[in-house]
């Protein structure tokens, strides 16, 4: 019923905060959120923080005050800069809630430990921000904010983490294509994981996009080499973290393509190894049964030729010495004649 849907929409910042975590979880299709229900208004260099104890920290001036203003002026027409400020605050709220998402068996302790590993921060931050950018309008509509702040879904704000997001988009969209997934699937799957599950999932997705699952034994260490390439490549992205957005975007994309190239090289090398060790299977040789004439003449000395034959080796022919591909020896007419005579 329409009235039920409207009643579910928050009418204050307190209700917004109460409903935002579940809305983010449902949008992501994640099994759980680690948010503990506490929000602390902060005043420091950071804007938002999904703390490992489940507490959400939001900057009072830049995030909380605009959202408070949003509900204090519900339904009023607002200038574009104000709408953009609302939108950025909501984007931060959705981004931080996405950090808390994970499967039911995930723990924040395991996520915290995994986040300190090489490349994990870049992967999680890029996935979280890319997913939040893609689902911000859905988040706004689900919470009915487009009714409270008319026009909020027609303005656009800049995304952040330009050093990470383009690379993550490039990698995940390429993996979607290679695995036959619908667009955005790899990104969504990664977003449902904590840092503890993201790298194993990413490595699996890369591995399964190759022929290796059908070629090599499960004990092969190709996965660890793929993970090493991914970790070092993603860790490299922090080099561009403080670069202007355009430069960061260019370098982020270039890094992703280099990572994809290294992954291809590694998987192709492994595929070639296993392809060579498993040549095409031929039917087993069968013992030819000699004909009655052959059996009858067995043991009889063959007739000697009327004249000595030429050597069979083609290396004596000048043409073979100058041939650019010595392994592909061509029979000279003379040796061919000799072979035919002995054939």
């Amino acid at each position: 019923m329409t009235t039920t849907a409207l009643a579910a929409h928050p009418t204050s910042i307190t209700e917004l905060f109460a409903l935002s975590a579940e809305t983010a979880r449902a949008l992501a299709g994640a099994e759980q959120s680690a948010w503990n229900g506490h929000i602390i208004e902060s005043s420091s260099a950071m804007l938002g923080l999904a703390h490992w104890d489940g507490t959400l920290y939001l900057d009072r001036e830049s995030i909380v005050d605009p959202l408070r203003h949003l509900y204090e002026h519900a339904g009023a027409t607002r200038p574009t800069p104000t709408l953009i400020a609302y939108r950025e605050s909501l984007a931060t709220l959705l981004h931080e809630h996405a950090h808390f998402l994970g499967p039911t068996d995930a723990t924040q302790e395991a996520a915290r430990e995994a986040f300190t590993k090489l490349g994990s921060r870049q992967l999680e931050e890029g996935v979280t921000e890319a997913w939040a950018q893609d689902h911000l309008d859905d988040f706004i509509h689900q919470l009915g904010i487009d009714k409270v702040a008319p026009g909020i879904d027609s303005v656009r704000s800049n995304g952040y983490y330009a050093a990470f997001v383009p690379a993550i988009r490039e990698l995940t969209s390429e993996l979607d294509t290679r695995n036959g997934f619908p667009p955005g699937e790899t990104l969504s799957l990664l977003n449902r994981q904590t840092a503890a599950g993201q790298f194993p999932l990413l490595v699996d997705t890369v591995y399964n996009s190759t022929r290796l699952p059908d070629l090599e034994p499960p004990s092969a260490d190709t996965r660890s080499r793929l993970e090493s390439i991914l970790r070092s490549g993603l860790a490299h992205l922090e080099t561009y973290e403080l670069s202007p957005p355009d430069l960061a975007t260019t370098n982020s994309l270039a890094t992703a393509n280099q990572v994809l190239s290294h992954l291809d090289h590694e998987s192709h090398t492994a595929e070639a190894t296993y392809s060579q060790s498993n040549p095409c299977v031929l039917p087993p040789p069968t013992r030819r049964i000699p004909s009655p004439h052959e059996s009858a003449l067995s043991g009889v000395t063959p007739p000697s030729p009327a004249r000595p034959s030429s050597p069979l080796s083609s290396t004596s022919h000048p043409a073979s010495r100058t041939h650019p591909h010595p392994t592909h020896t061509r029979r000279s007419p003379q040796s061919a004649q000799s072979l035919e005579r002995h054939g």
Partner: protein, 85 residues
């Protein structure tokens, strides 16, 4: 009755057999030390960057730059808190 075969007896129980190739203790220790050092370096870098980003954000004249710097600080703060149990 048991007879000695000349093999010296050893009262220390043997560790359970492990089919995996054993890593020499010195190599394992070196790997652990390198991992701990890399972790300490990442933690120190995160701490330093957070301080530096706070200074940069305070000095930034463009509001967009200020927000961008502060969002970067968010990520590094998350990393710094991950290093502190």
């Amino acid at each position: 009755m048991e007879h000695s075969t000349g093999t010296p007896t050893n009262a220390t129980p043997h560790p359970p057999l492990d089919p995996r190739p054993a890593t020499p203790p010195t190599q394992a220790a070196a790997q652990a030390q390198a991992a701990a050092q890399a972790r300490a370096e990442r933690r120190a870098r995160a701490d330093w960057l957070i301080t530096e980003l706070g200074r940069l954000a305070a000095q930034a004249e463009d509001p967009n730059d200020r927000v961008r710097i502060r969002r970067t600080a968010d990520s590094l703060t998350r990393l710094a808190t991950a290093f502190r149990p």
